[in-house]
């Protein structure tokens, strides 16, 4: 009996030890078995797990399966937190050298960290192979290229950040022009003052990133596209008087926003315009889905115009796909990237998601009324990169700018301190 007990204990501990070792060894070997560059499958890592984003991905997969029937699509979508959960997991996987075959990332400076870390490959060769250099606008290709001419991702869609949404009924009640287009910020601020007396929130805004989004449109309006772009390559001085003026306007505009902003995310702020609690909201064109889902008609129930003072400029951001270093199925990735860049892929995806294709040869008739206006602007306007969405600066700079903005809008720092914190953030 005694011996039995003892040997049972030993057996149990050996078993536990065995399981531990098995558990430790498990992760590393799994990817290697089929890592022969195979085109048999592709794992696509996104945060498109719900709503119009999910619909877009599904449409894209439909085209992919037609174009590449031999390659299996593996959905690596991670839901939650507007991509923050996915980005966290991606960071871990890349660090552990267990990359997906391709992952979604905002095109532009946000990719810089992955490039510096040698985690993604130059795909400029594929641009020639798929004929994308001619299909995409030259402005865009230039913006995607690094200084030495390499391109690290293929965009699937284009979003516009400088859009202002307005509720014409609210404007009418306050006796204002319902078309809501503003040449400059002074005219806009004058109307905000009128609205403030009319018992509605003049401008709705949400948590820090949407405040940074607002800041970016204000900077763009006051500085103009050229000086705005200069903020990100160092040719515009952050300490200059022009920037001070823009920040003063930002301070004034923020004083006309809702008090509970820090607790909201963008859909709740946009909803205030839909419900008529607020007159204006400045948000990217993904907000159009919120209006359309609630059967609102462009022109009658809501107005979408370039944010004040930014007409003629297209503040862009793009989702794009990469080829990670050490991807287990690089040929599968190439197949996926070909579909992403193709006319059919871009048309199917964007018609469902609400954004617009990066290709200039897409047929506008296949898209909604708002999308058609965006397609036209994208073809004709000056293109600048969005700050709040990773196109203009690396993540660390954006985080520092967000911190400074939150500090300023909660009243913990004054304008001078804010400006020098922004200047320090931009220097990195």
């Amino acid at each position: 009996m005694r011996i039995n007990k003892k040997s049972a204990g030993v057996a149990a501990s050996v078993a536990v030890l065995g399981m531990t070792l098995a558990a430790c060894g498990g992760g590393s070997g799994s990817g290697d078995a089929d890592a022969e560059g195979g085109a048999d499958q592709v794992e696509v890592f996104t945060w498109w797990a719900a709503g119009s984003e999910k619909a877009g991905l599904d449409a894209l997969v439909g085209v992919f399966q037609e174009q590449h029937p031999d390659t299996e699509f593996v959905n690596g979508a991670v839901a939650g937190g507007a991509g923050s959960a996915a980005k966290d997991l991606l960071q871990t996987r890349l660090q552990a050298q267990d990359p997906p075959d391709t992952f979604q990332a905002h095109a532009g400076a946000e990719l810089q960290d992955y490039i510096d870390a040698a985690q993604i490959e130059d795909v400029s060769g594929l641009y020639d192979e798929f004929g994308l250099t001619d299909a995409f606008p030259a402005d865009l290709v230039e913006r995607l290229s690094t200084e030495d001419g390499a391109i690290y991702s293929i965009p699937s869609n284009i979003h516009r950040a400088n859009v202002m949404w307005a509720n014409p009924a609210v404007l009418e009640d306050a006796g204002l022009d319902t078309s809501a287009e503003y040449e400059d910020l002074d005219a806009f601020i004058a109307d905000l003052e009128e609205l403030d007396e009319a018992d509605v929130t003049p401008l709705s805004v949400a948590t820090t990133w949407t405040q940074v989004h607002l800041l970016e449109t204000v900077l763009l309006a006051d500085l103009g596209p050229e000086a705005y772009s200069g903020l990100w390559d160092g040719s515009t001085d952050w300490e200059s008087d022009e920037v001070t003026g823009a920040l003063e306007d930002f301070e004034t505009i923020m004083s006309f926003t809702n008090a509970d902003r820090d607790g909201l995310d963008w859909p709740e702020a946009t909803q205030q315009v839909i419900d008529g609690q607020a007159a204006f909201n400045i948000m990217g064109d993904w907000a159009v889905a919120a209006f359309e889902e609630q059967d609102k008609e462009l022109g009658t129930d809501f107005v979408a115009v370039p944010s004040p003072g930014t007409a003629g400029t297209f503040d862009f951001l793009a989702d794009s796909f990469t080829l990670p270093v050490g991807a287990p199925h690089p040929e599968g990735t190439e197949a996926w990237l070909e579909t992403i860049g193709s006319l059919e892929g871009q048309t199917a995806f964007n018609a469902a998601k609400g954004s617009i294709p990066a290709r200039t040869d897409a047929d506008p008739a296949e898209f909604s009324e708002y999308q058609q206006t965006a397609i036209e602007s994208f073809a004709n306007d000056t293109i600048v990169s969005s700050l709040a969405h990773g196109a203009a600066t690396p993540v660390a700079t954006l985080n520092a700018i967000s911190d400074a903005t939150s500090k300023f809008t909660t009243g913990a720092s004054d304008l001078d301190a804010y400006q020098s914190e922004l200047a320090a953030a931009a220097q990195g």
């Binding site: 003892k6 204990g9 030993v10 149990a12 501990s13 050996v14 536990v16 030890l17 531990t20 923050s84 980005k87 966290d88 960071q91 890349l94 660090q95 960290d113 992955y114 510096d116 870390a117 040698a118 985690q119 018992d199 929130t201 948590t207 820090t208 990133w209 809702n258 008090a259 509970d260 820090d262 607790g263 609690q277 993540v395 660390a396 985080n399 520092a400 967000s402 911190d403 939150s406 500090k407 909660t410 009243g411 913990a412």
Partner: protein, 300 residues
Amino acid sequence: MSKTMRRVGPPLLLLAPSLLLLGVFVYGLIAANFQMSFTDNHTAAQATGQAPAAAVWFDNYTALLATDAFQHSLLNLLLFTAVFLAGTMAMGFGWAWLLEKPVKGEGYFRSIYLFPMAVSFVASGVVWRWLLNSNQDEQASGLNRLFQIIGLDFLQNNWWNNVTFGIIAIAIPAIWQLSGYVMALFLAGFRGIPDELREAARMDGATELQLYRHVLFPQLSPVALSALIIIGHMSLKSFDLIMSISKPANYQTKVPAVDMYVFKSSFDYANAAAVGAILLIIVAAVIIPYLIHTHREEKR
């Protein structure tokens, strides 16, 4: 030799897996964290070894502690902990004291008070984010609206959006959630005191106040100490509740744990590790004296 082996061997073998796991995944990782915090590993390139990282020893700590932003986080942590501790201890003790006297339906009340603890911080945070809405007057909702309805308009405030004291508003849901737990601890403490002691004190002519002061409180002090330690270290680690009510980028509710998260997502591993190390040191400063104290008690 073989005799000792036979005596020590099997238990050692039995303990080996957990010792190994603890060694690698707790103490090993703590060591790795400290090692990271002593480097200048501030970019994605350095994290993957594409760019060199050098040892800078305590530079990250001194730089962090010198910034206003991090001092603000530490101050927030201190405020949060103070209010959270005081609140849960007062509420928990109060409830336990009320229930300690024979009450009708005691079990029922006990469950009601203890129940909030069963809700996760993230789930209750979603509800409390709405309750603590900072809109006032016409647009008020949540608690501010409640204050209007019951005619206590002057109590309306902007809750966690106050730059200096906002963090205290987040301590309210934390208190709501853990007071029941402290109550359970105190109730167990009260129940552990034999009735004979109270009767003896009353026989000796002690007033109710003296009874508490000289008989009951001294016997409850170990319970109070454990409650303090448990709540205190939970407050230092609190992250989920703050994140689900506020957002990581909101300056007014930043605490070191949130800073750590933001540094990590900016690929600044060295500063993230340094913040983690600072948190560990603060928790250790609370826990280690307690461990020494209980160890001495047990020896006695």
